[in-house]
């Protein structure tokens, strides 16, 4: 269901000429997860979107284009709040990519029981 809501929001953004101001009036409780920081002015990207595109990342035309912003990157992660707690999927922000670091978009994660 989350995916459905998300898809609807995406479609609405792409198909209209909404500005930042009108976007905030949309009566939805879930904001899309922007990849770039909110301060960057985002105009709707009119790229070809496959019918089942749910993710913000698919908006970017080419995967070989580096991110414009490497600070305050918004994403989601499975967070464990305390020992023995469940994994919970929640939005997080990554502060920056330092000179000795690399930003990776995860495709697969194995679960190894040694942890």
């Amino acid at each position: 269901m989350f995916a459905d809501i998300f898809y609807l929001i995406r479609e609405a953004v792409v198909n209209s000429n909404e500005t930042e101001a009108t976007k905030t009036k949309m009566p939805v409780t879930h904001k899309p997860l922007p990849l770039l920081s909110p301060s960057v002015n985002r105009t709707p990207v009119k790229t070809e979107v496959a019918p089942k595109a749910h993710h913000v990342e698919n908006i970017i035309p080419s995967q070989t284009t580096p991110l414009d912003e490497t600070k305050n990157i918004e994403t989601t992660a499975l967070v464990v709040k305390e020992p023995k707690a469940d994994f919970e999927l929640m939005p997080i922000v990554l502060d920056e990519v330092r000179p000795d670091e690399v930003l990776i978009e995860m495709k697969y994660s194995g679960i190894c029981t040694s942890s």
């Binding site: 269901m1 989350f2 995916a3 809501i5 990849l35 749910h54 993710h55 080419s62 995967q63 070989t64 284009t65 580096p66 991110l67 490497t70 990157i73 918004e74 994403t75 989601t76 992660a77 499975l78 967070v79 464990v80 709040k81 305390e82 020992p83 023995k84 707690a85 469940d86 994994f87 919970e88 999927l89 929640m90 939005p91 997080i92 922000v93 990554l94 502060d95 920056e96 990519v97 330092r98 000179p99 000795d100 670091e101 690399v102 930003l103 990776i104 978009e105 995860m106 495709k107 697969y108 994660s109 194995g110 679960i111 190894c112 029981t113 040694s114 942890s115």
Partner: protein, 375 residues
């Protein structure tokens, strides 16, 4: 060692989206497919002599889940700005995007098979590395492998690749023993069926094995392993035991038989060398790790759950935001942190922690309920 809240995950596979200005590997490009492995301190003697797996600070550097330089963590919760530890093993791969230490990054030689290669960063590398780098059994040797999870099966495949004469696989789940036979084990022992496991091994090998690997971390198994190696044999401890556990050995026979007992982290692997080597073996058909992975579409989640409980399926490898669920063949019950898992956004899969008793029952009394939840 890690503090909470934290993001785990140490077998990641993904695409490079941004590269820090001082990253030493200049051949890395945005858009490259990479596999993620462990990180190291970089300054101790093993780090400097091509044995990064033996870094003296391996536990601290990988488990603390913070940047080594200043103890900071890249992540914070969006809603509360609360700090979340997020460089577990330098990577914290249970995150859609992660800021990863450059040392963890290994280029993936075959991006199309990235799903199958994700566990190379830890599990497969550990098992195969122990055989290929540390034990190096020969054709006329005998090897016993205790515990047939991804680590044990990777060790098995590596031993088969070296044409080792006798490869004895020990486990309690019949299906895994069958798989071991398919992969090339010469003998299998189901230790749940009681009986004297070291005795059986000594019978098969004529006095004791030359090499043995424990991939379970269970104290009784470790003791059996030391017991089952023969004169001048080496017992390698690879599985992670619980903290404060103790094992007992018979020191007199240990001495009289000139045995060795070694701990091996991550198969003494240098990821940038071993990972491409294992991928090449896989492409040559000699490291069939796809046999350990099974794909389930989300519609068949119920089947996946059922297979997990019956021991057919084990490690879960999940694909971010897609509807595929890949699984491996080791019981999920070995999770030592006792966590329950959210497998895919919107679907919550709860599998309780199951106590592992070597002799005993894998309790499948844990309920497995799942419900959809709006996130």
């Amino acid at each position: 060692m890690v503090e909470f809240p934290a993001i785990f995950g140490h077998e990641g596979a993904g695409i490079v989206r941004s590269i820090g200005s001082n990253v030493k590997d200049k051949s890395l490009k945005v858009g490259d497919a990479v596999l993620l492995s462990f990180t190291t301190c970089g300054t101790c003697k093993p780090c400097k002599t091509q044995h990064p797996a033996f870094c003296h600070k391996h536990a601290v550097v990988n488990q603390s889940a913070v940047r080594m330089s200043d103890g900071s963590t890249p992540a914070r919760l969006k809603n509360s700005n609360k700090s979340v530890r997020s460089q577990y093993f330098g990577q914290s791969s249970f995150s859609k995007m992660s800021v990863v230490n450059e040392k963890c990054v290994v280029k993936c030689p075959n991006p199309d098979s990235m799903a199958v290669y994700a566990p190379i960063g830890c599990g497969f590398q550990t098992g195969a590395g122990t055989i290929l780098n540390v034990l190096k059994p020969e054709v006329d040797d005998s090897v016993v492998i205790f515990g047939l999870g991804s680590v044990g099966l990777a060790a098995l495949m590596a031993a088969v690749q070296r044409n080792v004469g006798k490869i004895i696989a020990v486990d309690i789940v019949e299906e895994r023993l069958q798989l071991a036979k398919e992969l090339g084990a010469t003998h299998t022992i189901n230790s749940r069926q009681g009986g004297n496991v070291p005795g059986a091994i000594k019978g098969v090998t004529g006095g004791g094995a030359n090499f043995a690997v424990d991939c379970t971390g269970i104290t009784k198994v470790i003791e059996d392993m030391v017991e089952s190696v023969g004169p001048q044999g080496t017992a390698a401890l690879v599985g992670v035991p619980p903290a404060n556990a103790r094992v007992k050995i018979d020191p007199l026979s240990f001495l009289l038989e000139n045995k060795k007992f070694v701990g091996v982290i991550e198969g003494d692997s240098n990821p940038r060398e071993l990972i491409p080597q294992l991928v090449k073996l896989h492409e040559a058909g000699k490291f069939p790790i796809d046999k350990l992975c099974k794909t389930y579409p989300v519609a068949k989640l119920q089947d996946a759950i059922h297979d997990m409980h019956s021991g057919k399926v084990s490690d879960i490898l999940f694909q971010w935001y897609n509807t595929l669920l890949l699984t491996d063949r080791r019981p999920l019950s070995r999770l030592s942190t006792g966590v329950r898992m959210v497998i895919a956004p919107g679907v919550r899969l709860q599998i309780g922690y199951v106590e592992d008793e070597y002799t005993g029952a894998i309790s499948d009394s844990q309920s497995c309920k799942y419900s959809s939840r709006i996130l």
